[in-house]
Symmetry: C2
Subunit: 337 residues, 2 copies
């Protein structure tokens, strides 16, 4: 079977991957579409650092502790797929059903994220295994390429839910990459009446408007912080942004950090203290948010079509990883194996 894997920092097509066989409770699916996530790019470039940070972290079970970067790594966690075959004694939708799922594989007693793994195949492959209890049939004849955006849009929904923003509050979204765009869509879904979006890229600002921002700001031209009190969504995730938010935002600002900065970041806590700012780091989503995300896309409440700026096969992933570095060119590239 064909799959594209991370090998020594590059995405490489293999045609000798062993065909996955569904165990009890599992389902073999054919991947219809799988989005490339910013975290995929980051893992490809800085996987060693991410694994080291994961090992250094206490207070939760180790993340991906068993990944060996000397071996091939399967990736792809934003997928839709078609049911091919259920495992032994497994109740599953009939073959041909288009589904999506939380990117998690249940296997006997273990729970493995379908994110980066030497063993568990992700969406950058012809076929993969999913868990029957987690399958969500894609409703309304929704285009499977759109259903693949359930996962990234759920990230936005979760960030907005965690912010507890009220409709009458102003939302300021810093950074209009895929996460910022998902946040804008979710803010709109929640009826927030004043959404300001900030990005240096004109293309991204246009996309932000298309997805529901009421106002956009080019931070090279004007400060995004002059609109008055706002709930700030930090969706850039590079060092320096958080301190800029602390330094410039008004007293009492709630900051939702949704951009995952993987590098050390320096802040001046004095700014946070003097203005009594609160910061909530948010991450991923819960199963209900994932299901709501699919429903909102399928019902037409969120139109994800404008986000899809490219489509490649398994052999186009390596080049797509390079192209995604240019914010003026791409938002989401889908892999259709």
């Amino acid at each position: 079977m064909r799959a594209t894997v991370l090998r020594a920092g590059r995405m490489v097509v293999r045609d000798d991957v062993e065909e996955p066989r569904p165990g009890p409770g599992q389902v073999l699916v054919g991947v219809k579409a799988c989005g490339i996530c910013g975290s995929d790019l980051h893992f490809a470039a800085h996987g060693d650092t991410m694994l080291r940070l994961g090992r250094d972290m206490e207070g939760m079970p180790p993340i991906d502790a068993d990944i060996d970067l000397a071996g091939d790594v399967f990736m792809g966690h934003e997928f839709s797929a078609e049911v091919l075959e259920a495992g032994p004694g497994t109740d599953a939708p009939p073959p041909g059903t288009v589904v999506t799922s939380l990117p998690v594989l249940l296997s006997g007693g273990s729970v493995t994220p379908i994110v980066y793994s030497n063993h568990v195949i992700g969406g950058f492959a012809e076929r993969m295994l999913l868990s029957a209890p987690l399958l969500l049939p894609v409703p309304n004849g929704l285009d499977p390429r759109h259903a693949a955006l359930t996962e990234p849009m759920a990230v936005g929904l979760h960030a907005v839910n965690r912010s507890a923003i009220g409709r009458g509050e102003t939302a300021l979204v810093i950074g209009c990459g895929p996460i910022g765009i998902a946040i804008i869509a979710a803010l709109r879904l929640r009826g927030v009446e004043h959404i300001v979006a900030s990005d240096f890229s004109v293309k991204r600002r246009q996309l932000a408007e298309l997805m529901g921002a009421h106002e956009t700001v080019d931070p090279a031209e004007a400060s995004p912080f002059t609109a008055g009190p706002a709930v700030v969504f930090e969706a850039v995730g590079v060092p320096g942004i958080l301190n800029d938010v602390l330094r410039r935002s008004p007293q009492g600002t709630r900051v939702i950090v949704a951009g995952v900065c993987m590098e050390p970041d320096t802040v001046l806590p004095f700014f946070g203290a003097a203005k009594e700012i609160s910061i909530s780091f948010v991450y991923a989503y819960d199963p209900a948010e994932f299901a709501e995300s699919l429903r909102a896309i399928a019902d037409g409440d969120i139109d994800v079509a404008p986000l899809i700026t490219g489509e490649v096969g398994l052999d186009g992933i390596a080049a797509a990883f390079d192209e995604l570095a240019d914010p003026d060119r791409h938002c989401k590239i889908l892999v259709t194996p």
Copy 2:
């Protein structure tokens, strides 16, 4: 009149300070006691940096923007005092009444913090001005030295109020200097049933127990983060602590940052993200918290006597600033002019 002022980084006694004269709405008071705050020490050592940070900060009115470090700076914001004389047409408690007040001077239309100033005299002086509408008579014949701790104890009360901690939640207080101790007292006041306090200093751990901690930890011996989920109060305020909290605390931890770190601090946002940690920076208190703090001390609900580890006159302030660097020796030194 005598006052001790900050001059070129050192505390210097002057006996030629012009006698303050109360304007309308103001009251001349004789200082009974004034605590030395960690922020006083920091301002003496790093005032230039603090003023620069204040000027760099946007989103709120400038703090202390007009202070000239080339001139003498009056300090002292944790005071009790005796009413001497009311300004023209000013309704005030009778002379001899012992009072405390929010450290703010109302003067015509302007509001000046009594913290650091070239002009507004603070508590490190024989006499100072206060604002009649802000005066709180000290009840129950409370020792004026204890009443002077209203301000630092209000800082702890505010931090605990902002945390919204429930009685059944565990509180973990990192750092048992004056702020940590005030937090412990406030947690106890709010009926929190499990208070864990962490400090390298044995004296400070003993004080933490005396003030209400149910358990103390020497972080050189054991991790304070193994007690399970806790609301974490960061009361150290030096670079590196916040990242340590992010790295080691459990998923979903709420961190209340009460220790004001004035230096750049580096964190790994990844730790915050992966565990969805929230951080609330807290600062100062509101008038109701200040009044409640005085009431709790006067009613005996908070016994501040153990905090007072030293007492000096105006000519002892310079040496006291040096001595306070040693955590095993001092918690709060009072100036009794």
